[in-house]
């Protein structure tokens, strides 16, 4: 970290988006994480994605739990709404927020501890509900905030900084989301913004639960030799399965592509993503085949990345529950609170 805030400097190279904002308007407070933390790069990628999508910061709600990763919403989108929930309970609070105001962009930031240990149940149910949110899981294999114990995502054989070896099986959030029926499952790396930023943009525009598992090295407790979540290990075993391009609504698709090699998918707001297989035997629409592929590469120690599975046809939480189409705050009083007679009628239905 540094004690000096990144100064607000308007320099000649600064561009403005469709709202007339610069990328600096999407930043937040100064990070208090360790210098070199992968989470800070994820923060920068989130800032860039929202800036490039021209999303007004006040239309975003940032949700988080507890942990180094869950501190980061303080470091981006300073003009957004935010809720820092108790440990592992962010998906519940996010569900409430989504129910109350379905027009907000919900962005959850969590870590491997918050999501895969204390919050594993909440995490699984949020996927099951297909809650319309982006769920960024900053995954570094250790509990950084409590001095580097192994987390539930640590690989077998991975060594801690002082030399202990992890012997328990890891939980892979990607495979879990696939198995739970997740509709948008992606993995990336904090050190590869070229891949991460388009992935985040597609996730933001996806209608439903979008998991983005980001390998985000802990520079203090898990960036040594024999770590499987270090910068150098991740770079060495990084395996790009799918390449994604995000194309905003109304913009013409300029690249020429062969049928079968590149697949365009239209998202709900009319924007499109272009998916290109980088590996011939990968299938991003067949859950079973995709899982097999990820597992077989995992056995070789490789980290499969990209948008690994997408399904735009499943209804989200609002679709499943047939909720009102307007945010609650936009309903007039009579509709929101129809009186004791209406309550009595409703109760009568359950007798």
């Amino acid at each position: 970290m540094t004690y000096i805030a990144k100064p607000r400097i308007v320099h000649g190279g600064l561009t403005r988006n469709a709202l007339g904002l610069t990328i600096r308007d999407y930043e937040g407070g100064m990070s208090t994480l360790c210098a070199g933390c992968g989470h800070d790069s994820v923060t920068a990628a989130i800032v860039q994605a929202f800036f490039e999508l021209d999303i007004p910061p006040h239309r975003v709600a940032k949700m988080s739990g507890i942990g180094c990763s869950s501190k980061t919403p303080a470091y981006f989108l300073g003009a957004s709404h935010g809720f820092n929930a108790v440990h592992g309970r962010m998906p519940s609070v996010a569900t409430g927020a989504s129910v109350a105001n379905r027009e907000l962009y919900l962005l959850g930031v969590s870590g491997d501890g918050d999501s895969l240990s204390i919050g594993l149940g909440q995490f699984a149910h949020a996927i099951r509900r297909n809650l319309n949110m982006v769920y960024v899981l900053e995954n570094n294999g250790v509990y950084g905030l409590t001095k580097g114990q192994f987390s539930a995502s640590a690989d077998v054989g991975s060594k801690a900084r002082k030399g202990e070896v992890n012997e328990q099986q890891p939980i892979d959030p990607v495979q879990m989301a696939m198995a739970q029926g997740g509709t948008f499952v992606a993995r990336s790396f904090s050190g590869d913004k070229e891949q991460l930023v388009p992935l985040l943009k597609a996730a933001i525009k996806h209608q439903g639960f979008a998991l983005v598992d980001v390998i985000s090295p802990c520079v203090t407790f898990n960036d040594h030799e024999d770590s499987t979540k270090s910068y150098s290990y991740t770079r060495q075993f990084f395996h790009r399965a799918v390449h994604l391009d995000y194309v905003p609504p109304l913009e013409e698709i300029k690249v020429a592509y062969d049928e079968g090699e590149v697949m365009p998918i239209e998202l709900h707001d009319g924007s499109r993503i272009l998916l290109r297989k980088l590996s011939k035997d990968y299938s991003f629409t067949n859950r079973g085949a995709a899982l097999d592929y990820i597992r077989s590469h995992q056995r070789k120690g490789e980290i499969v990345t990209g948008l690994l599975y997408i399904d735009e046809s499943e209804p989200d939480l609002h679709g499943i529950n047939h909720t009102t189409t307007a945010p609650l705050c936009n309903l007039d009083f009579e509709t929101l609170c129809p009186g004791s007679q209406a309550l009595a009628t409703l109760q009568q239905r359950f007798r």
Binding site: T2, I4, P7, C34, A35, G36, D40, A44, G191, V219
Partner: protein, 605 residues
């Protein structure tokens, strides 16, 4: 691209834009830091090493440093570099015991210097400590050259001028006032070991229009200013026209207001963007309600009953092309402007009627001496030129640099060494890291705007000719202004082998000047920068290949504000802030080098 070679003298020097732009390479960021620490005497002495006249230049320098200042890339106004120099001069303690002293043992060589202006005095300043005997010939009764005759005392008080010149004269120069050199041939015959010509550009240009010779109320700017300076002239008519719009014109119009003129117009032939005067000098004149009239070309002086009553002008119209250059010119009307006096300020030239043309000193077709731009030697060995005398009118700071270089040449000439075999410049780097998040400079970017120079009120200042208009910065202003300096000499130095490519520096950089990308040719790298390239002339800082991916770190030096956040954020200290010091050799360094060589020879011999 190959990794950038930073080991040479040029790369890091160029990053310090003010120091690079200064002809004398004054170490600006360092003296501003010294001022910030309240070390005014140290700041003064640091200035004096390179520019010799900090008090004078802190008031009247043409400040090539300020347009170059990095600050203008992030806001409108540069750091008030020049006026901070005055702060160092105004607040210094008694520094006389820190000044260079003439060598006690003379080396037996005698140098003649013609003209006691800034160029000659710089040569004397550099050569007296080496043991040379310096004889200065000055035609006028006072020394100072154009600094005294052309710069009005309300901008440069005589006390400031005298004090700094006397530091040099009192070292032991033989100053001969009222002694014009009338023949170079005779001077050569006197047997000096070398001669330096620093006689300036004393000839004001004339405007040969109808009526020019019919009145004594038409003055040539620099001659007129000289007469005012020597109190031969103490009044002017109520209505004055100044012809020309350079810095001399600004001095003429402001002087007129102090000698009784009520209505002063500066007549410009072209639109404002073509003016030669510096912006700040124009502002100072306009603040005094001088009217600047554009697009009038002088045609004739008008007399009535043998008395000047005004001038006629052609009103001009210009068509500009896409680049802003004049494509076409038209005369659209003729107009008369009434006046009592006219001052011609349309330029000046050097003039050498006293140099015989048959003694080996060659002149070109414009009667300008042929002078070597590195050694300042004329075509006659042992004769050197500097200041305006060498290449025509420039500024004091150029003359000072000419003086330094000529002094080196004179020393080498007198020691029978090659004039071109000069000591090279050097750059020293030293880490500025003091501890965790602690640097030996104030690295927190301060958004404060430039401080306004306080000045004497608009009625009071006209009461006497020599009331200095600018008052100098107050303590509060100094404290604010010094923090505006971006410390460009604190260089960002990158060690590729330490980088883990975590992107921390790229994310934290407030001006997006860093990029990690695949190594390509220069043009491709320039296209792939995170923030678009705004200054194609500034070289890129390209690292060696990074360990993990083989990509390269590329820095656009043009954007950097030297806040050091990259180095603060870097987990592996791959970025470091290092203070660069540019070593500029002077005559004394050449002598030290000679002595070292002598010792070496004795040992080996």
């Amino acid at each position: 691209m190959e990794p950038t070679k930073t080991s040479g003298t040029e790369y890091f020097h160029r990053v310090v834009d003010c120091q690079w732009a200064c002809p004398a390479h004054t170490d600006v960021p360092e003296y501003i830091r010294l001022i910030a620490q309240g070390r005014f005497s140290d700041a003064y002495m640091l200035n004096r090493v390179s520019n010799v006249f900090p008090g004078i230049l802190g008031r009247v320098c043409d400040r090539p440093c300020e347009p170059a200042c990095r600050r203008v890339r992030v806001e409108d106004e540069p750091v008030a570099i020049c006026r901070l120099k005055r702060v160092a001069a105004d607040n210094r303690g008694d520094i006389r015991d820190r000044l260079p002293k003439a060598a006690e043992q003379k080396n037996g060589k005698r140098i003649a210097l013609i003209g006691a202006g800034c160029a000659s005095l710089t040569v004397v300043n550099d050569l007296l400590p080496l043991g040379y005997e310096c004889v200065i010939y000055e035609a006028l009764d006072k020394h100072g050259g154009l600094m005294r005759t052309n710069i009005p005392s309300f901008r440069l008080p005589a006390t400031v001028l005298d004090e700094e010149m006397d530091y040099i004269i009192d070292m032991g120069a033989d100053l001969r006032l009222g002694t014009p050199v009338e023949s170079m041939k005779r001077l050569l015959a006197e047997g000096y070991d070398a001669i330096f010509v620093g006689s300036g550009a004393p000839k004001g240009k004339n405007l040969d229009l109808p009526g020019r010779l019919d009145s004594d109320r038409i003055h040539i700017g620099i001659q007129w200013l000289e007469s005012v300076a020597f109190e031969h002239v103490d009044s002017i008519g109520e209505n004055v026209l100044i012809i020309g719009v350079g810095n001399t014109a600004m001095d003429c119009c402001r002087t007129s207001l102090r000698l009784g003129a009520k209505n002063v117009k500066v007549m410009a032939r072209k639109p404002r963007k073509f003016f030669k005067a510096s912006d700040w000098e124009l502002e100072d004149a306009e603040e005094e309600l001088v009217e600047i009239v554009v697009n009038y070309s002088p045609k004739a002086f008008v007399m009535e009953a043998g008395k000047l009553v005004g001038m006629t002008f052609e009103k001009m119209e210009y068509d500009l092309d896409d680049d802003g250059n004049i494509a076409d010119t038209r005369v659209v009307a003729e107009e008369f402007f009434a006046c009592d006096d006219v001052v011609l300020a349309i330029g000046q030239e050097n003039a050498f009627p006293w140099i015989e043309r048959d003694i080996g000193i060659q002149f070109d077709q414009w009667e300008v001496p042929v002078v070597d731009p590195v050694t300042f030697e004329a075509t006659l060995p042992g004769v050197f030129f500097g200041g305006d005398a060498a290449f025509g009118p420039k500024n004091i700071i150029w003359a000072v640099e000419h003086g330094h270089q000529a002094a080196i040449s004179i020393h080498k000439y007198c020691q029978a060494q090659s004039l071109t075999d000069r000591l090279p410049r050097g750059v020293n780097l030293q880490s500025a890291k003091m501890g965790m998040h602690e640097w030996s400079y104030s690295n927190d970017y301060d958004p404060t705007a430039r401080r306004m120079m306080p000045s004497v009120d608009l009625k009071e200042r006209f009461k006497k000719l020599n009331i200095e208009v600018e008052l100098g910065f107050s303590v509060e202003q100094i404290v604010k202004e010094v923090e505006r300096c971006l410390n460009c000499d604190l260089q960002t130095v990158f060690f590729a082998d330490l980088c883990i490519e975590c992107d921390a520096c790229i994310d934290v950089c407030p001006v997006d000047c860093l990029t990690i990308t695949a190594n390509e040719d220069e043009q491709t790298l320039k296209n792939n920068l995170k923030s678009p390239l705004l200054n194609p002339d500034q070289p890129l800082y390209v690292s060696a290949s990074l360990k993990q991916t083989g990509r390269v770190m590329v820095k656009d030096e043009n954007l950097c504000v030297h806040c050091g956040l990259c180095a603060e954020r870097c987990p592996t200290a791959a970025w470091d802030m290092q203070k660069s010091t540019v070593n500029i050799p002077y005559a004394i360094d050449e002598m030290v080098q000679d002595e070292a060589r002598c010792l070496e020879n004795q040992k080996t011999g």
